[in-house]
Symmetry: C3
C-alpha cells in the first residue's frame, strides 16, 4: 500500500460558486492506476470547501441563495475590521464551520464509490479567485 | 494492508429520520476481522447523510424540528420546478451542503474508536424511501 | 503500512471555544515518523467537533457569536427535559449535525497537507469541560 498526492488547480469567477471536479478526480485515480483504496479530496483553503451533491443548474443557484442568506456577507464581523489576509471574508469562514474541507471517497475496482446522483464539488465561498487548489491523496495499491 | 467494501441496506419511513447503524457497522468490522485500520462510512445519496451523534429519542425529534425549520421543504427553490430526478427535494440538497456524506472512523484493536455517547447515524433528509444504501470501506489488515 | 493511535487531552473554559491543536497534531506525526499517509483527527464527543479554519482572534469571536445565534442554548428542546447524560445541551448536538466530528488530513513527506491559512481546531460546543479528548489515527508507513 502506498500514498501519492495530486493537485487540481481552479479559477473561480463568482463570490459563491460550485465547480464539479468529479471527472478530474476520476482521471487522477485512473492515471495512477488505483484499484482499491481511499481518495481524500481536500481544499487547501479555509474559505473554499468540498461537497458531494447533485449536479443540476437550478439547484446550484438555490445553494448560492441559501448560503448568502444564512450568513450575509455584510454582517457585523470583527474579522472584517482588519483582516490579516486582507480580505473581509468572515462570512466564508463561518460557513466553513459547517461545510467540510475534505471528503474521503472509497475506490473499489478502479471506480469512485459514488451514488448515481453524487458529484464531487469544489465550493468557492469567497471568490472570485484566480488561483485555487484542491489536493488529492490516493491511498492504496498503486 | 487491504481494502474491502460492504453495504448496509435501509428503508426509511419519514421525511427526516435518524437511524442508528452503529451495531451494523461494528458487525461488519468483526465479520471482516479488521484489527487496525480505518472504516469510511459513506451515504450513496445526495439527500441522505452520515452523522456521529447521541442516540436519545427526544433529541432525534429536536433534530428533525431543527432541520425542518432551518431549511423549510416548501421554500421557493428553482430545483423544484422540474427536478431531473423527479423529486422536489431542494431543501434536502441544501442541508447536504453542511451535513456530511461520510465519516471515517478509526478501528483500534478490533473496536470502533468512538466516544461513550457517539453512535453512527444514517440521516434521511428526503424520505420516506424504500431503498437506501450506505457503503463501508474497511482499510487495514484484513 | 501500519495504523497507530494517539490522544490529545484538552480542558475547555467557555461554552463555545476554538482551540488550535495544529502544533500538537504535527508533533505526533513527527514523533511517530509518519512520512506518507493519512491522519484522522476525531473528537470522541458528540458535543465537540474538529474543524479546519483560520486562526485569528476576532474571527473566533465571530464564530462563537454565529453559533450561539443560529442555535440558541435556551431553545425549547425535548432533550433538555431529562437528559440521560445530565446536561441540557441539545443546542450542541444540533450544531453537531453540521459541524463534523472528524477531519482526515493527508501527510506528504512528513508534513500535514494544509494550506497557508488552515489550522486544525478542536471546537467545544458544550463547555466548559475539565476533560476532553481528541483521537488521532496515523495510517501509513511508520
Amino acid at each position: 500500500m502506498q500514498a501519492c498526492i495530486d493537485h487540481i488547480e481552479l479559477t473561480t469567477t463568482a463570490p459563491i460558486q460550485l465547480i464539479d471536479i468529479t471527472a478530474r478526480v476520476r482521471e487522477r485515480v485512473r492515471a495512477r492506476g488505483l484499484r482499491h483504496g481511499l481518495v481524500t479530496v481536500i481544499s487547501n483553503h479555509t474559505t473554499a470547501r468540498v461537497n458531494l451533491n447533485e449536479h443540476e443548474e437550478r439547484l446550484q443557484q438555490d445553494m448560492i441563495t441559501f448560503l448568502q442568506r444564512l450568513v450575509p456577507r455584510d454582517g457585523d464581523y470583527g474579522h472584517n475590521v482588519a483582516p490579516v489576509d486582507g480580505r473581509d471574508n468572515a462570512h466564508a469562514h463561518l460557513l466553513g464551520l459547517f461545510a467540510n474541507a475534505s471528503e474521503s471517497i472509497p475506490v473499489h475496482d478502479g471506480e469512485l464509490l459514488l451514488g448515481t446522483w453524487q458529484s464531487v464539488f469544489f465550493v468557492e465561498l469567497d471568490g472570485p479567485r484566480p488561483q485555487r487548489q484542491v489536493s488529492l491523496q490516493l491511498l492504496g495499491e498503486l
